[in-house]
Symmetry: C2
Subunit: 92 residues, 2 copies
DNA sequence: CGCTGATATCAGCATGGAGTGATCTTCTCT
DNA sequence: AGAGAAGATCACTCCATGCTGATATCAGCG
């Protein structure tokens, strides 16, 4: 969750959802500095949201859909639980 | 996203998914201070994740499943897009 | 009414984390 | 080998935000 909570990181994830890109493309698309982008990409990498594929002197970043899918299912399950226990209320 | 990115707030949401609670219960369950909890509840309220129902001198908090559901669908859509464009790669 | 308990708000402090510039490594090309 | 580009890491600054204590508000009860 925290990895996706930053606006720039969410933008990166949206871009990567459509195509695999390397850092240079992401710099061009987002307008962010290289260092800044590299930091955010590290966060996404350590959270398992993206994976890297070195290709010569470029580094391609690809989204890992499983992670998003898994988070989506967790939220959906929470929502379902909430719906089914809508009338449960602990008395004071 | 940002509203759910905090661990304490996520805990609150998990608790509220099972039953509607008032602030006193949440204090007991989480062990957090009243002020702290009230601040987080405000964040969740302003994000539309929870809604309040004043009941005498108590304030009950209830989860709004639509919001979680909507976020879940957005993530799922992103994952689906990523899957379908897994082989799309912009050349450098 | 005043007291007490529930909850919200305010102001201050402290820390995490985002942004930046400088530097280092590694790859490619000549 | 040397130059230049891609990209990671480091060290630093600074701001957003989480936490706290004090205070305000309001409902219920004697």
């Amino acid at each position: 969750m925290r990895a996706l909570a930053d606006p720039l990181r969410l933008q990166i994830v949206s871009l990567l959802a459509h195509e695999t890109l390397c850092t240079t493309h992401l710099i061009a698309e987002t307008g962010a500095r290289q260092t800044n982008l590299s930091n955010h990409l590290r966060v996404l990498r350590e959270a398992g949201v993206v994976e890297t594929e070195p290709c010569g002197r470029y580094t391609y970043y690809r989204l890992r859909p499983e992670v998003l899918e898994s988070l989506s299912e967790k939220l959906s399950a929470l929502a379902a639980t909430a719906r089914s226990s809508a009338d449960v209320r602990r008395p004071c």
